[in-house]
């Protein structure tokens, strides 16, 4: 299976040079091809599952448990101002 590696990179916001794309494209295609072998298994009569683990949904009551930890949480951010994250302009 051929992968449009440039498109995948664009969707993931990863910058790729043409050389990297030429190198990664076949590798990704190989990986997909490997996984695709699963499609050969006959699953007739097998109930589809939504999740590999047969566990119950953990349930949370509607009670506020988190306190304001803005300073600590924003510490790794490249840039903040008045408590807001500052990012490159995104509007078109």
């Amino acid at each position: 299976m051929d992968i449009d590696v440039k498109k995948v990179a664009m969707l993931s916001r990863i910058r790729l040079t043409d050389e990297e794309a030429a190198e990664l494209g076949p590798q990704l295609s190989n990986i997909i091809g490997y996984v695709e072998q699963l499609a050969e298994v006959d699953t007739t009569g097998v109930e589809p599952i939504a999740h590999p683990h047969d566990i119950a949904m953990p349930q949370r009551a509607d009670i506020v448990t988190n306190v304001n930890r803005r300073d600590a949480l924003q510490a790794p951010a490249p840039k903040t101002e008045s408590g807001l994250y500052v990012v490159p302009k995104v509007i078109e």
Binding site: A50, P58, D62, I63, L84, Y85, V87, I91
Partner: protein, 476 residues
């Protein structure tokens, strides 16, 4: 040749839980930026979402109220896209197996009731808020809203014009308010609408649709849909073709523009959310949620008509919100003798005065008990309806009860036959020509006498009695 318009709506409703969909952060509106966040809703690596079951129950309740099927097993998926207000790089939502499928709402249209299909309701989470205004080359991000529970309610393309779309939205808005599943404040973005609009010649397959985004008031939604319908018809009639795209409505200019760059990236690569197992409800749990269903607007309207004898119009006005309905029922409880008088005075007089000052019924300066006190005085003929309006005016700005105001303003009505007869005799003595005319058959002169008597009594004579006594005494 005519055109048919086809409209489907996607409504995002913020669920009014105290905490977010997948973490214990507060959802309170208006907090300082980024003070209601945690590693989960900030998308930090290694964090696991844990579902807010109250949000799930409210989604089930909404599904039951639109007569839909509840999927006892539903699952969560990831919708992937890049935007700085979505720190995880994906939104947790429900794609192939949502919690609710296949319901409907009946809406009023000019041709009678129309059933609008609802395809599905799925649970998801809100994104943060981006701000661009007045900033040079940067945007600011507040993630307090990141992870707030949403229901996306997707309709069938069953609406044929902007008015039907608005009727559907108003019905849905009223419903989620009555169910108390959302505060649905449109200005706060708690009830937002995207509209899919296309046109076609009658009998032809569906045309290509455009998606209108960012519609946050009923007025803009109507404007945006009408603008889009005209744009598409003109485009096709000029030999052009509608392209499938997302358009952003600019309410200031009254027109929409294409957001093409987003279109290129329109590949969400949905896949199952590995961090959440399927969501399961038992039929017993669903039945218990159904048992807690409050009275819905339609049922309340019908009950007001049958139980209190209200006109469909009054019943509709008084059931617009749960607060209005509760206020009305408190008024009736305090003045049970005449539920219709209660409805008239509340709908026409009180709500009219509240509207002038932009006051909500919940903040009404006049309580049901005080208004009932006034209605008692109309019922026992202490004051006329006209004087009662003056008393209500006074009540809006004072805390006195009706009796105190009637006393202070000297509005007590004269219902004493002797006193009224005395005034009538005076008036008759002063207008012998009119008396003669009336007796000669000019019945219309009765109005003249009523006016004179009311004037002579400075408006305090009981008009019903004045009429009755005048007819008697004018006979001669």
């Amino acid at each position: 040749m005519s055109w048919e318009v086809v409209i489907g709506l996607e409504v995002h409703v913020q669920v009014n839980t105290k905490t977010k969909q997948f973490c214990g952060c507060s959802t309170e509106f208006g907090a300082e930026p980024n003070t209601q966040t945690c590693p989960v809703c900030l998308g930090m690596p290694g964090q696991l979402p844990v579902l807010n079951m109250e949000a799930a129950r409210k989604s089930v309740l909404t599904g039951l109220a639109i007569n839909a099927d509840i999927n006892l097993v539903s699952k969560f998926d990831r919708k992937n896209y890049f935007y700085p207000d979505l720190p995880k790089g994906y939104q947790i939502t429900q794609f192939p197996l949502p919690i609710v499928e296949g319901g409907y709402l009946d809406i009023p249209t000019k041709d009678g009731e129309k059933r609008i299909g609802i395809t599905r309701i799925h649970m998801e989470e809100d994104a943060g808020k981006s701000m661009h205004e007045g900033l040079d080359g940067v945007s600011h991000i507040d993630l307090n809203r990141s992870g707030v529970p949403l229901m996306e309610i997707v309709s069938e393309p069953d609406m044929a014009n902007a008015d039907e779309a608005i009727a559907y939205l108003k019905q849905l808005h009223q419903l989620v308010c009555f169910l108390d599943v959302s505060d649905a404040n449109m200005e706060k973005g708690q009830f937002r609408c995207d509209a899919n609009v296309s046109v076609r010649r009658p009998g032809e397959p569906l045309g290509t649709r455009a998606e209108l985004k960012n519609l946050n008031s009923f007025r803009f939604i109507k404007q945006a849909i009408e603008y889009e319908v005209n744009r598409q018809i003109e485009l096709i009639e000029d030999g052009g073709e509608v392209v499938q795209e997302t358009r952003l409505f600019d309410s200031a200019k009254g027109e929409s523009r294409s957001m093409r760059s987003k279109e290129e990236a329109h590949d969400y690569r949905y896949f199952p959310e590995p961090d959440l197992p399927p969501l399961r409800f038992t039929q017993e749990e669903v039945d218990a949620i159904r048992a807690g269903m409050p009275e819905l607007p339609g049922q309340l309207r019908k009950r007001f008509e049958t139980e209190y004898g209200l006109s469909p119009y009054d019943a509709d006005v008084l059931t617009q919100t749960r607060d209005l309905a509760t206020w009305y029922e408190s008024l009736v409880a305090a003045h049970p003798a005449d539920p219709k008088r209660c409805a008239n005075w509340m709908a026409n007089e009180l709500l009219g005065r509240l509207k002038e000052t932009g006051t909500d019924i919940s903040a009404s300066p006049v309580s049901p008990a005080r208004l009932a006190g006034l209605l008692e005085r109309i019922a026992d003929n202490t004051i006329s309806g006209k004087a009662a309006k003056d008393v209500l005016d006074a009540m809006m700005t004072s805390e006195d009860d009706a009796d105190a105001i009637i006393e202070a303003k000297g509005l007590k009505q004269v219902s004493d036959t002797g006193a009224i007869d005395a005034i009538i005799h005076e008036v008759m003595a002063a207008s012998p020509d009119q008396v003669a005319g009336y007796r000669a058959g000019k019945d219309k002169l009765l109005g003249f006498f009523v006016g004179q008597v009311m004037k002579a009594s400075r408006g305090k004579a009981n008009p019903g009695m004045v009429n009755q006594r005048l007819k008697e005494l004018l006979k001669g």
